[in-house]
Symmetry: C2
Subunit: 330 residues, 2 copies
Amino acid sequence: MKLLITGAAGFLGARLARTLLARGQLAGRPITALVLADLHAPPPELLADARVQARSGALLEQAAALGAEGFDGVFHLASAVSAECELDFELGLRSNLDTTRALLDALRLGGQAPRFVFASSVAVFGGDATLPLPALVRDDTLPLPQSSYGIHKFICEQLVADYTRKGYIDGRSARLMTVAVRPGRPNGAASGFLSGIVREPLAGLDAVCPVAPETAVALASPAATIAGLIRAYEAAREDFGGRSALNLPALTVTVRQMLDALAALAGPEALARVRFEPDPAIARLVGGWPARFESARCARLGLVPEADFLGVLRQYAADHPQAIRVPLRL
Amino acid sequence: MKLLITGAAGFLGARLARTLLARGQLAGRPITALVLADLHAPPPELLADARVQARSGALLEQAAALGAEGFDGVFHLASAVSAECELDFELGLRSNLDTTRALLDALRLGGQAPRFVFASSVAVFGGDATLPLPALVRDDTLPLPQSSYGIHKFICEQLVADYTRKGYIDGRSARLMTVAVRPGRPNGAASGFLSGIVREPLAGLDAVCPVAPETAVALASPAATIAGLIRAYEAAREDFGGRSALNLPALTVTVRQMLDALAALAGPEALARVRFEPDPAIARLVGGWPARFESARCARLGLVPEADFLGVLRQYAADHPQAIRVPLRL
């Protein structure tokens, strides 16, 4: 089978590609070709695999050719991130709305009705004075996105649902939680600090936390996130349950609990690297996202959140040993 | 002030134009210019008013010029109807999604931040096996549109909310109930029969009802619908309550209750004109729409549904005496 990953040079896209290549199959069918589309070239070790081809450039311009090329399955991860979209309204429209629409139309005209996993986001949720966000978010909670990023993700969920209803694709939208711990450098997402406040101290660097320590957030590890995307792909239509988007499992933690785990793993010296500098814009965005979820559909699909943040930190240390520059206690 | 109505040659658009011209003011400001945009020319009596100008042609092509022209307020009613969109997917995308997007972008670039009322629809609601539609629809009920028409209306609500959040417009989305009784000929909407089954017998003609008599529907009269749109425009931002769409008031009636009212107004001869011929496609669409609503926001805005369908029938007979060809009893 031939698969497409968009946003494949990003952290999650590249990890998904590595995971799929290592599995060798998806939904029981051998993966014979994996096309990695991104603005940037994918990591060299992925390109070294004979099954991999890269399509580099703006996805909006590549969409028609990709649709004509034809795929059995698509993971659509390409996206501008939340803070970028708040700064540049037209960039958000183009990168997150027009691009997804163009890809869906190209696949519709291609006529192969591929299975299609759309990476939506917990950022669809928000509340306002009239309809405040409930304390516990369920499958039928009304999203009231409070950012362009969330608006565009929610709109694309609607498109995926309708193109699926019409039989043009077999689409499934999965809402990703904030992914932590991300390796590398900050990426401009409003949630980026949720990786930085532990990643930088583990690298022996200082970090800034722009929100209060009692801020609760819904996180998922990179491994759990990739597992969720693959499960959304492999689920039978009736198991996925309807065409509405699935909230992937979330570990609810406060920033303080995250830092407690950091101290447990790397000691008070690591913890002392983190200083609090409130940023109202970031606090407003992140504070508007829900922190607690209940998902009957996830449970039916066998998707569960991590047990605690210390386990998430250990996963990061094991996956990125070269990024750990301080002695670990555990 | 200068106003724009899109879809102004349609039944509701023309009625809104007539109502506004008769009022002479909106939100306390005199209406000095009223631009009527539509694929077709507006009714001649509207064009005869010195304040009225027509812009005829496809709105998608006119949007940029309208944005540059500048308006204090906009009522965006232009839309392809539900059954058309199910038959022609690309028509629906173009007429209901791309056109609204183009209009919003033109107004954003125009820089006047006009007040903007978007005519959304009860057709955003639906349910599926995983998340069935609740018996009572509230302000925070999650729409799961089951038609392209509903999908596009719901997407446009999201765009209106985000362009409003960014200050590009002062937008308010109002979800119209099924409007009955519509005068004239059927318009291709799946809900068209809800006017036809009383309108045709009152004209001495036969009518076909494609759904079972116990089918419950949520209706609003033309006068109540126009009043709702104007109230949505005139409401102070804080009174409108948030940026999410408002479900306009609905009268819940069964088809049987509608026909009982017909018999009360025009006798058993009129009732005998209606025959039942089930149409599964229409029944599926209409049966998927909610019939019962509870809206705290409408109550706060002073918007209430009609008391009964007989009153709605009487409104129709009074508004369109030339369309009544049978003796009335009341």
